[in-house]
């Protein structure tokens, strides 16, 4: 069976408009679907970032204070609250915090290696907590030690206190000390005095999930501070396995029993990590869904368009097909003719489409600082669209192959 490329090309010249339209549609579809799938891939990759938190058991209470108090008053209340939370039957541990991973945004400091360095080395998310924070979050300490209780100090409203010790994420440790010798070394995080690395955890996600955070992804530090801010505090609570729901019900009651001059929003004052993650990535998820819908509908419409135009061509050429059949062409020959014809148009389309796909991506890189399109996407897209074309053309081509030779003799 030989490919009859030459006669097909000659025949296509008589259907220039239709040929160009199908090729154009394949080209545009390839360009859009490649980029859409690439966006989906990136967004899904964002969404699967590990936080380092024991997400199945941890929840966060956003507690705002209702009256102005001194730092000492707030500190006493915070200590009492934590004691009450830790005594709840369903609670494994609880810690005070000024922010939490995947919060959406929060405190970050520039990091330098020397006190008088002006240009920062990098940037780190800043978490605060006491000696219970590591166990409460469930993050893994891979080197060094946890804070001692006597290292934890009060942090009043908007005070700039730089503790002498810090626990850092492995990503930050490696960024500051690429030779792996971070433990015991010090760094400066917008303070006149250094912080010495006493422990390394891995991983620990930043609060932020947006584009601004990407160059600093995974870089975070924890300072032994009890956030006694007059405005409010986050209590991070880790429930015992299987008791998350019960602990989330009991926690606010325990806090209100301590004092009623606080505000815990009934709507989103208490969130488990499923909800926190859902919120943190809602725009990523939305983009992935939208691009998915558009890709599927686009492929369906392109396939339907090919079916429509090829059917028209088959209808137009019934007589010629009949003549060919009468002259000895088999059904297979006819089927093959239409499949080859579509393949040729498809190849023309995907060549243009591949160039277009890369062009669109390069433009997006300049406009939205997205990543470069990986060529595997283009290659996959090319194969997918050629297969789609063949599948779409199959039905009309089969119909063509069933044209009886007797058609050649009709209506002349």
């Amino acid at each position: 069976m030989s490919l009859q490329i030459k006669p097909i090309l000659i025949a296509l010249r008589r259907h220039k408009a239709g040929t160009v339209l199908i090729a154009l549609q394949i080209a545009l579809t390839l360009a859009i679907v490649c980029n859409a799938l690439f966006i989906i891939h990136q967004r899904l990759a964002n969404m699967s970032d590990v936080s380092g938190v024991d997400e199945a058991n941890v929840f966060v209470i956003k507690n705002q204070w209702a009256v102005d108090q001194s730092t000492q008053q707030v500190d006493a209340q915070v200590r009492a609250d934590l004691l009450a939370l830790r005594q709840l039957p369903g609670v494994r541990d609880a810690a005070p915090a000024s922010g939490y991973p995947l919060q959406g945004g929060g405190w970050d400091n520039f990091v330098t290696m020397t006190p008088d360095q002006v240009e920062p080395t990098t940037d780190s998310a800043v978490y605060t907590g006491d000696e219970h924070l590591l166990d409460t979050l469930g993050v893994h300490l891979i080197a060094g030690r946890n804070f001692h209780p006597d290292e934890v100090v009060e942090l009043g409203t908007q005070q700039a206190i730089i503790p002498p010790v810090a626990i850092v994420s492995k990503t930050l440790a490696d960024r500051l000390f690429p030779d792996g010798s971070a433990l015991g070394k010090s760094f400066y995080a917008m303070g006149a005095t250094p912080s010495t690395i006493i422990g390394i955890v891995d991983p620990l996600h930043r609060q932020g999930t947006g584009q601004w955070n990407q160059p600093y992804a995974g870089q975070s530090l924890i300072w032994p501070l009890r956030a006694d801010d007059a405005r409010g505090i986050f209590y991070i609570v880790r429930a015992k396995p299987g008791q998350l729901a019960a602990a989330m019900r009991e926690a606010p009651k325990a806090l209100y029993a301590q004092s009623r001059m606080r505000m815990i929003d009934p709507k989103d004052g208490i969130q488990d990590y499923a909800e926190i993650r859902h919120k943190a990535y809602d725009s990523d998820r939305g983009m992935a869904i939208l691009m998915g819908i558009i890709s599927v509908v686009l492929l369906a419409i392109t396939a339907a368009g090919i079916v429509g135009l090829t059917s028209f061509w088959v209808g137009e050429r019934r007589k010629q097909i009949g003549v060919r059949r009468a002259l000895g062409a088999t059904r297979g020959d006819i089927l093959n003719y239409f499949l080859t014809e579509n393949l040729l148009i498809g190849i023309g389309g995907v060549l243009v489409g591949a160039v277009l796909a890369i062009g669109i991506n390069l433009w997006m890189v300049t406009q939205f600082e997205t990543a470069r399109l990986s060529l595997t996407y283009v290659a996959t897209g090319v194969v997918a669209l050629l297969l789609l074309g063949q599948a779409a053309v199959l039905a009309p081509a089969l119909r063509a192959s069933h044209v009886s030779p007797v058609e050649a003799t009709r209506s002349v």
């Binding site: 209702a66 917008m190 558009i294 686009l298 339907a304 429509g308």
Partner: protein, 436 residues
């Protein structure tokens, strides 16, 4: 003739039902995808105060210097020192400083649990400058700014919650344990995007509950409930230490009526920065900005990239649907070449054929538009799945969107029909008649 062709068009919709359904769906999906994403884009990219946006400016002063600012741009907010200096000069017709604050409010009635309220510390000019509309009362006066009074303007939302919507002017509200006198209740005033606070919000935060005097907030040492951005070494441990730091947290707005005033204010800002340089506070040349509302919305990238990208992808999708439609229209029209040949032989001009097929395409567009409208209605109500809730709830289907959907569907289909209709009009009558 138009009515007749229109009727013919409607009738021919039923002629090749599969082909027609395909076109209607292509146009329907294409126009719906474009309109759904456009409804979101329209909501986030609109001008929130169209009649005054060119008269409202936010001054920015580089207090961080070339080594610590972001890519040469001054910080987006002001530090306390610069903010107060600008305020004291009264260089603009109207001016206000502002920052977000969070407080507790006792709801009264049967509940004894405080609720959280979000608001802004603002100057008295805030209300006339931004055209805040009032249900009851008004803003406070410049004298109240000076006397650092405990006045408060509450929004209709908080008024509903505290006073059941009654005229509460003169009544007392307890915020964070301090009493405030209500001087005004705003009617629903919540510009989107919230152009006046793009430093602490992305422009789409929840509606505010109250506005209180900036001077009073400072007296109470109220920390900002929004962003606080600092550079270099931080050493402050007290309120005054923080005020004197390089931390930026205040947004400033001025109202300037004419180009001359704008130019004068620009000179004033440059002069102020030069003074600071001479005084040794800045070790760099003056680097100031004076952006109006639209420039500020653009500078702060208020339109999320997601909204832009999805609109672009949806429009590209629509274009592909139209290419698809061109091919299908071509098939549909040329299938009737014999019929066209007969009409031409009987005396119809090319023009008439052209008009007939364009109008027929218009009816396809009309049907596509109706489908597109249904899909748009479904899509706009379900847009919460695709965009962040605070943005998604701004998208809505109104008369202009309905009109636009139908118009775009019909016009786009007719444009797509230019070539197929031209081919139809050029059918050679002799050829068609011969083979029959």
């Amino acid at each position: 003739m138009f009515a007749y062709y229109f009727q013919l068009g409607l009738r021919s919709l039923r002629r090749n039902p599969a082909l027609t359904a395909l076109m209607v769906m292509a146009i329907g999906f294409g126009v719906a995808a474009s309109m759904i994403t456009y409804s979101v884009f329209r909501a986030v990219s609109g001008n929130p105060i169209p009649d005054k946006s060119a008269q409202l400016f936010t001054p920015q002063i580089d207090s961080w210097g070339p080594q610590q600012n972001v890519k040469g741009e001054p910080p987006d907010g002001l530090d306390y020192t610069d903010a107060m200096a600008l305020m004291r000069t009264h260089e603009a017709k109207r001016q206000t400083l502002l920052y977000p604050v969070q407080m507790s409010v006792m709801p009264g009635g049967s509940s004894d649990l405080p609720i959280a309220a979000n608001g802004y510390a603002v100057g008295s000019d805030f209300f006339p400058m931004f055209e805040v509309t009032f249900l009851y009362g008004s803003g406070w006066s410049a004298q109240d700014d000076e006397s650092r009074g405990s006045d408060v303007v509450i929004t209709d939302q908080l008024n509903q919650r505290l006073f059941g919507g009654a005229d509460s002017v003169g009544r007392t509200v307890t915020l964070n344990g301090h009493d405030y006198r209500v001087v005004g209740v705003t009617s629903h005033w919540d510009p989107r995007p919230r152009f006046f606070d793009l430093f602490s919000t992305d422009g789409f935060d929840d509606a505010s509950d109250f506005y209180m005097p900036f001077t009073r907030a400072l007296d109470l040492q109220m920390r900002t409930g929004g962003r606080n951005s600092c550079r270099g070494k931080l050493t402050f441990t007290t309120w005054d230490g923080w005020l004197q730091s390089n931390c930026v947290w205040i947004t400033s707005w001025v109202e300037l009526g004419s180009a001359a005033e704008v130019a004068r204010y620009r000179r004033f800002l440059d002069g102020y920065a030069a003074d600071q340089q001479r005084a040794g506070r800045f070790n760099w040349a003056p680097n100031v900005r004076l952006r109006d509302v639209v420039q500020m919305l653009d500078h702060e990238h208020v339109v999320p990239p997601e909204s832009r990208i999805s609109l672009i992808v949806a429009l590209a999708f629509f274009v592909i649907c139209l290419v698809n439609t061109i091919g299908l229209l071509l098939a549909k029209f040329l299938r009737r070449a014999g019929e066209i040949g007969v009409r031409r032989a009987l005396g119809a001009t090319r023009r008439e054929i052209y008009a007939q097929y364009l109008i027929e395409a218009g009816t396809v567009g009309l049907a596509g538009g109706v489908l597109g409208l249904l899909l748009t209605a479904v899509g706009v109500s379900g847009v919460g799945i695709l965009f962040q809730p605070q943005i998604a709830r701004l998208a809505h289907l109104d008369l202009s969107l309905i009109g636009l959907t139908m118009l775009v569907a019909i016009v786009a289909t007719m444009i797509a029909a230019f070539y197929p209709a031209w081919r139809a009009a050029n059918v050679q009558p002799a050829w068609q008649l011969k083979s029959n």
